[in-house]
């Protein structure tokens, strides 16, 4: 027994004795290795070439949001108007749930339109929403100009969202409208009650309706509505003929089959500058001549892309937007497939003309690690066509303001040298 305990104590002491502690403060140069970590910082002024811009990657109807804006500016008013179409149930509706017998839909008593406001500026005051009836013929090709008339003469409702939010229980007992503020997801869920005249169920149109929205506010009138799962939906309250008797039916809510937005003015045509953002979204490609001395024998610890705006960033003043730099799997020009694994971003403030800096360390490290990777940078908005914002940078042909890369790298440590 004693021997076992002694053996155990011996084993514990042995393990304890084997613990290494070698870390000591260095006192250089006397008690440090002769080799040191050498950091080099270099500005690559002529390494970016053959840059160009392309537009049309994400169109308004393909965007994840519907943008609404009414922003007077120096060069005109930025006016964005969501439009959407909700198809109906057709001319007939099932009378009973136990059989398939149907009856003609006589019309609607009312309907409730639900909208999600997924982005708004809380500094905006007196935000008003105007609902218009639009022709049901609207589609993905509908332009701002083609719906000017209904946006002028077909106003159905005006809702003051700030007033509605101030109501007790956030519900207007007169109009039947209500709003729910989702503070977790930063959303407003608007529920608008439409009467028979506002929600006309026209059987010959299969009950299809189309609406458009304009907004107004004292300042900074720019918001975004959700689409798809958070898109517009319409709850009909129908009257159906059941063998001469009118019965009420409440079918399931219908979502929008088309949800888009129209806006004016249209984006300026592309020129020699490097455009990023806007609707339809624009991207720019920058081809980088990556020096071999950095690629082959150094560790990149920081790389910064400098871009000089050719004009002030445009868009809704409150809607700063994020642009990202990404690499591509292959250089096919405008159709280069983007490598989504790595990316670096920066925030663009509308109206700013300061030099934009994007930290692209991750991308250059990936290029250094894989020499087959194309050394091409793509600049695009992080959320394409979800903001009106657009910025244009000087291209490489503008010698004084061309894009540049500042790279900080570490040379190979002289291992093995005494």
């Amino acid at each position: 027994m004693i021997r076992r305990r002694l053996a155990l104590v011996g084993a514990v002491l042995l393990v304890g004795a084997c613990v290494e502690r070698l870390t000591a403060p260095g006192h250089c140069p006397d008690y440090c290795p002769s080799g040191q970590i050498t950091v080099v910082d270099t500005l690559l002024t002529t390494s970016i070439n053959r840059d160009s811009s392309y537009r049309g990657y994400v169109l308004a109807y393909q965007a994840a949001l519907m943008l609404a804006a009414n922003l007077p500016g120096a060069t005109g008013t930025l006016d964005g108007r969501p439009i959407f179409r909700i198809n109906g149930y057709g001319a007939r509706f099932r009378i009973s749930t136990v059989d398939t017998s149907t009856g003609p839909i006589l019309g609607a008593d009312s309907a409730r339109l639900q909208l999600y406001v997924v982005r708004r500026d809380t500094a905006t005051h007196n935000l008003r929403l105007q609902l218009y009836r639009l022709p049901i013929t609207i589609d993905t090709g509908t332009t701002f100009g083609s719906v000017t008339a209904p946006f002028t003469d077909s106003l159905l409702r005006t809702v003051n969202i700030d007033t509605l939010l101030a109501q007790p229980g956030r519900k207007d007992s007169v109009t039947g409208d209500s709003v729910v503020a989702d503070t977790v997801n930063h959303r407003l869920v608007l529920s608008l009650k439409l009467d028979t005249a506002q929600a006309r169920y026209v059987a010959t149109d299969s009950g299809t309706v189309a609406y458009g929205i304009r907004i107004a506010a004292d300042t900074l009138a720019s918001i975004a509505f959700g689409k798809d799962a958070f898109g517009p939906s319409l709850q009909w309250y129908l009257r159906v003929d059941s063998l001469g008797t009118t019965v009420a039916r409440k079918p399931g809510a219908l979502g929008a089959r088309l949800a888009s937005f129209v806006f004016a003015p249209p984006p300026a045509p592309l020129d020699s500058t490097l455009a990023v953002g806007g609707v339809p979204s624009a991207r720019s490609l920058l081809r980088v001549a990556f020096p071999k001395v950095i690629r082959d024998s150094a560790q990149i610890i920081r790389a910064t892309l400098f871009l000089v705006p050719a004009v002030a960033a445009r868009g809704a003043p409150a809607d700063s937007f994020v642009i990202e730099a990404r690499s591509v799997f292959a250089d096919f020009g405008a159709k280069s497939p983007i490598d989504l694994r790595l990316g670096d971003t920066t925030v663009i403030h509308v109206g700013a003309t300061d030099t934009v800096k994007i930290e692209v360390t991750n991308l250059l490290q990936a290029w250094a690690a894989d020499s087959t990777h194309p050394t091409v940078l793509v600049l695009r908005p992080e959320r394409e066509a979800q903001v009106f914002g657009e910025i244009r940078f000087y291209p490489s042909v503008a010698a004084a303001f061309r894009p540049t890369l500042q790279v900080t790298f570490v040379r190979r440590f002289p291992f093995g040298v005494p």
């Binding site: 004795a17 084997c18 613990v19 290494e20 502690r21 070698l22 870390t23 000591a24 403060p25 260095g26 006192h27 250089c28 140069p29 006397d30 008690y31 440090c32 290795p33 002769s34 080799g35 970590i37 950091v39 910082d41 560790q299 990149i300 610890i301 920081r302 930290e359 360390t361 490290q365 500042q406 900080t408 570490v410 190979r412 440590f413 002289p414 291992f415 093995g416 040298v417 005494p418």
Partner: protein, 370 residues
């Protein structure tokens, strides 16, 4: 046990060194960081407990070959040591600790007048870990950073030695030394500003070299023996990924000793050695080292003590750092002398260039004679 069992033990002891997997090292020192490393001590625990004075006469110390002539039977030995080191420099003190296995080997007679030995010891210890806090201007801003540079490994001296007692008074020995080993080196820098990524580089540095040695043992009178030895190594080649990163000349070495045994229970010894480390380049110095020690009592459980001093080969400035040490130890034989355990304790101080190191080392040695 049979001879075969003995050779199995030998392979187990020496095999790791031959495959490059050994963690053989002696005693680290901050003085070795700037230079090639910290030279090892080619001594068994018994010799080291006498300050190294018995090294030339101890067949289990890989310093000399001629003493192998008296090994008598197949013998395997190994030693381990744990060092607690206090480093004082620039007003700061740091406590460090390391465990090393500086000597392993096996020796035995292969013919009536011929003995051989194979084993390894530490030639240069290259294990250290430095942290450094500093700053410099980068992109127009003062950037603060922390560096950590580490080296973990050593250069081992794998020795094949033969010895022969030519006459009752004279024994000769010769050895072939293969230097090999590797260090795992890392260099890291962490900036306070996290926009600069962490610098992280590492490499395995492999070392190789060759050396030869010769020695003589002369019995002048009953109980009085003198020894002399010399060694020459060519160069130490450092390779990183099959590319030679450094070629460093290695020193010539020579030394001698005297052992006086006035009675069977008292043995007194002294030794001296010279090494031309200045060949290794700037910041290296030729060194002289001396030692004196004694062993009292029966061989079954003796008492040993010793002292040594001398110079360190690497250091800043124009003068070599110095070291002085005192040691004591004992041993215990088991199984009718077939197994021996040696224990030693050493107190060492190194000084030079504003740096002082004080080291306590506990040594344990195991010797088996199957």
């Amino acid at each position: 046990m049979t001879h075969r069992a003995g050779w199995i033990i030998a392979v187990l002891l020496v095999g790791p060194a031959l495959t490059g997997g050994a963690m053989a090292a002696a005693q680290d020192s901050q003085f070795g960081i700037r230079g090639l490393g910290t030279p090892g001590r080619w001594e068994s625990v018994r010799s080291r407990s006498t300050g190294g004075a018995f090294g030339p006469f101890d067949p289990l110390s890989p310093l000399m070959e001629a003493s192998l002539a008296d090994v008598g039977q197949l013998t395997a030995t190994a030693a381990g040591g744990t060092s607690n080191r206090d480093v004082l420099v620039g007003g700061t003190a740091t406590s460090l600790r390391a465990t090393r296995f500086p000597v392993m080997g096996v020796a035995g007679p292969v013919a009536r007048r011929l003995a051989v030995s194979v084993g390894f010891t530490t030639y240069l210890d290259k294990s250290w870990d430095l942290t450094l806090r500093d700053s410099f201007m980068l992109r127009g801003v003062l950037q603060r950073y922390t560096d950590e540079i580490t080296s973990d490994g050593s250069v081992a001296d794998i020795r094949l030695a033969v010895a022969s007692r030519l006459t009752r008074r004279i024994a000769l020995g010769a050895g072939l030394h293969v230097l090999g080993g590797s260090t795992r080196m890392t260099a890291e820098r962490q900036f306070d500003d996290s926009t600069f990524h962490r610098v992280q580089q590492s490499a395995e540095v492999r070392y190789d070299g060759l050396g030869v040695s010769g020695s003589v043992l002369i019995g002048l009178a009953p109980g009085l023996t003198i020894a002399g030895w010399a060694r020459s190594d060519n160069r130490l080649r450092a390779k990183v990924a099959d590319t030679t990163s450094a070629l460093t000349d290695l020193p010539l070495m020579a030394g001698g000793g005297v052992l006086f045994a006035p009675s069977p229970s008292a043995r007194l010894g002294a030794s001296v050695a010279w090494r031309s480390w200045s060949k290794a380049g700037a910041g290296a110095f030729d060194t002289w080292t001396w030692s004196a020690g004694a062993e009292f009592g029966s061989r079954r459980m003796p008492i040993r003590l010793g002292a040594r001093g001398g110079q360190m080969p690497f250091g800043p400035g124009t003068e070599a750092p110095t070291e002085v040490a005192g040691s004591l130890g004992t041993g215990r034989a088991f199984a009718q002398g077939r197994a021996l355990i040696d224990l030693g304790l050493e107190r060492l101080e190194r000084r030079g260039g504003g740096l002082t190191e004080r080291v306590w080392t506990v040594l344990v040695g195991l010797t088996v004679r199957p």
